[in-house]
């Protein structure tokens, strides 16, 4: 085995186009990297296998967009917040989360962590992953 020169990024984005959200699991220690990278950051092993993510996660923290953080190019996904999400397989990321607005902010803050799930959304020429609050 050992490190292989492979197109991790292209594979990830190609999989998104096919409706699949994928990560890479370390064959040595079992840690998952999502979004996927070349080598395991937990144990340093280069032997990784592709897995399909469950799509489930927990929102741990979030902040509302404001003057300098809301961007025109993100208008189409309003209303959103900037969140810290831990996904079921272990990794945590900073991620966009839909379903929270000024009205329910306090209520959601009091309930954290809350369940969220991954959603694939189209951008300009590629797709990316954001999260939506689970239905109650």
């Amino acid at each position: 085995m050992g490190v292989k020169l492979e197109r991790v990024v292209k594979t990830y984005y190609d999989n998104l186009e096919a409706g699949k959200i994928t990560g890479r699991k370390c064959l040595e220690c079992g840690a998952v990297e999502w979004p996927p990278v070349l080598v395991c950051n937990t144990c340093g092993c280069a032997d990784m296998e592709w897995i399909e993510m469950s799509g489930k996660g927990k929102l741990l923290q979030f902040v509302m967009p404001a003057t300098i953080t809301k961007k025109d190019e993100m208008k189409d996904i309003k209303p959103y917040v900037f969140g810290v999400v831990e996904v079921e397989e272990g990794p945590a990321v900073n991620a966009m989360v839909r379903g929270i607005n000024k009205k329910n902010r306090e209520e959601i803050l009091a309930k954290l962590p809350v369940d969220v799930h991954m959603t694939i959304i189209p951008r300009d020429g590629y797709s990316t992953v954001i999260f939506d609050l689970d239905e109650e």
């Binding site: 003057t67 993100m74 900073n94």
Partner: protein
């Protein structure tokens, strides 16, 4: 949460001390006919030569120099900016290298110089940084013909410090970090939005009080004076008014950097050689801890600062209670609180009260950012960290005049931050 890999530091092969510092005013050069048209060579050369004068040395005594600039390609149209300034301070032909770690550049500039001397390769090294954060080159005309770098163009250029594989595309990392420290702190210690707002406002007021006493700072008026000019007798009322709007989830305008132009430099040599050059006491660099955390990762500043700080305390054996003065690169002003608590300079979960009580101002018992930091001294991106090193050294020598802290600091802690993101924790101590 996505724990980071840890490093154990080993002692330097020989002790290294700072023997000279220099700093230009932090300013918007184009706004003043006397400074409009200043160039990279003039600003860097001035700071570099001031540092040599301060150390009592001449350019021929310097073996090598490091050059830091956060965004040389866009702001100066240079790819190798160390070469383009190398003839401007009497060191023609000497070796040099350029580095950029964006807003952390000025702190890691000290790291580079110290390592070069500690290794034994050089005895006397200059490390300088320059940035035109407000006046950028035209691209078709000589370097003195510059134009304004407005906020929107600057914001647009900031995207280049973020990963273009996932981070920009997931849209959160570049936008959450303004608020991550404040949100993390509020949740951990149970602060309300209003308590955090009050804390950050007092931070800005405290910092500004030091800055107006520093002739190099870009800010010339206290918030009390600005409030009065706008018809407010109560400065807090002004700070919470539409004159000081909320710009992010937690940061008002007073909690954001004042980007500008500036340069700063220092000279280091082996501690055992300090007396060969200067009668002043050297400022020994006891250690520098380093960590990085990419912007898609949660709690970049908190987790990176924890690791860099753990490293430097473990190496040096210094205890938090020995720290007399602290600097935090605070382009988001919350960094003062985050860095000071992680360094153990302020008690965990209680630090916010020290800001509200004014204890972190230059004349308080826990001084932080006595030059005003990024929101009052100014932010000439690469040069800012070196300006903090300049200020720490001047405070430790007792040379700060009206803004001199009450008790002469013997040990200083500096927390570098920047570049989406590098974290550095530096401990300086006056050499005996």
């Amino acid at each position: 949460m996505n724990p980071i890999n840890k490093t154990t530091l080993h002692p330097y092969s020989r002790s290294v001390s700072i023997i000279g510092v220099g700093c230009s005013p932090f300013m918007n050069t184009l706004d003043d006919p006397e400074t409009a048209g200043l160039t990279e060579g003039e600003l860097f050369g001035y700071a570099a030569y001031k540092a040599m004068e301060d150390a009592g040395i001449r350019p021929k005594d310097v073996d090598y120099f490091f050059h830091g600039e956060a965004n040389p390609f866009y702001c100066s149209n240079y790819i190798t900016p160390n070469i383009q300034v190398s003839e401007w301070f009497g060191m023609r032909g000497k070796g040099s290298i350029h580095h950029s770690e964006a807003c952390c550049t000025g702190y890691l500039a000290l790291e580079e110089a110290v390592n070069a001397v500690a290794s034994g390769k050089y005895n006397v090294v200059l490390s300088g940084c320059v940035e035109f954060g407000d006046a950028i080159v035209d691209g078709t005309k000589p370097s003195f013909m510059r134009r304004k770098f407005d906020f929107f163009e600057f914001q647009e250029s900031l995207k280049w410090i973020y990963d273009n594989t996932y981070t920009r595309e997931m849209m959160c990392g570049p936008n959450i970090h303004q608020d991550d420290g404040a949100e993390w702190y509020k949740a951990k210690y149970g602060l309300t939005d209003e308590q955090m707002d009050d804390t950050l406002i007092h931070m800005a007021i405290n910092s500004r009080r030091g800055a107006v006493l520093d002739p190099l700072a870009i800010s010339k008026k206290t918030y009390e004076e600005i409030a009065k000019e706008n018809g407010f007798d109560d400065v807090m009322e002004y700070m919470k008014s539409f004159y000081n709007p909320m710009m992010s989830g937690n940061l008002r305008a007073s909690g954001l950097e004042l980007k500008c132009d500036g340069a700063a430099a220092c000279i280091v040599c082996p501690t055992e050689m300090v007396s060969e050059f200067t009668d002043k006491k050297g400022i020994e660099v006891l250690g520098i801890g380093n960590a990085t955390r990419e912007a898609n990762q949660p709690h970049v500043e908190v987790i990176g600062t924890q690791e860099a700080t753990r490293q430097v305390y473990e190496l040096t054996g210094v205890k938090p209670e020995e720290i007399d003065i602290l600097y935090a690169n605070d382009f988001f002003i919350t960094s003062q609180l985050i860095a000071a608590e992680i360094a153990g300079y302020l008690p965990e979960g209680e630090g916010w009260k020290y800001f509200i009580d004014g204890r972190t101002a230059f004349d308080g018992d826990k001084p932080i950012n006595t030059n005003g930091g990024r929101c009052s001294f100014g932010h000439a991106h690469a040069a800012s960290g070196m300006a903090d090193i300049y200020e720490a050294v001047m405070q430790m020598r007792g040379e700060c005049g009206a803004r001199q802290v009450k008790k002469l600091p013997k040990t200083a802690f500096l927390r570098g931050f920047g570049g989406a993101q590098n974290l550095a924790s530096i401990i300086l101590r006056t050499a005996e």
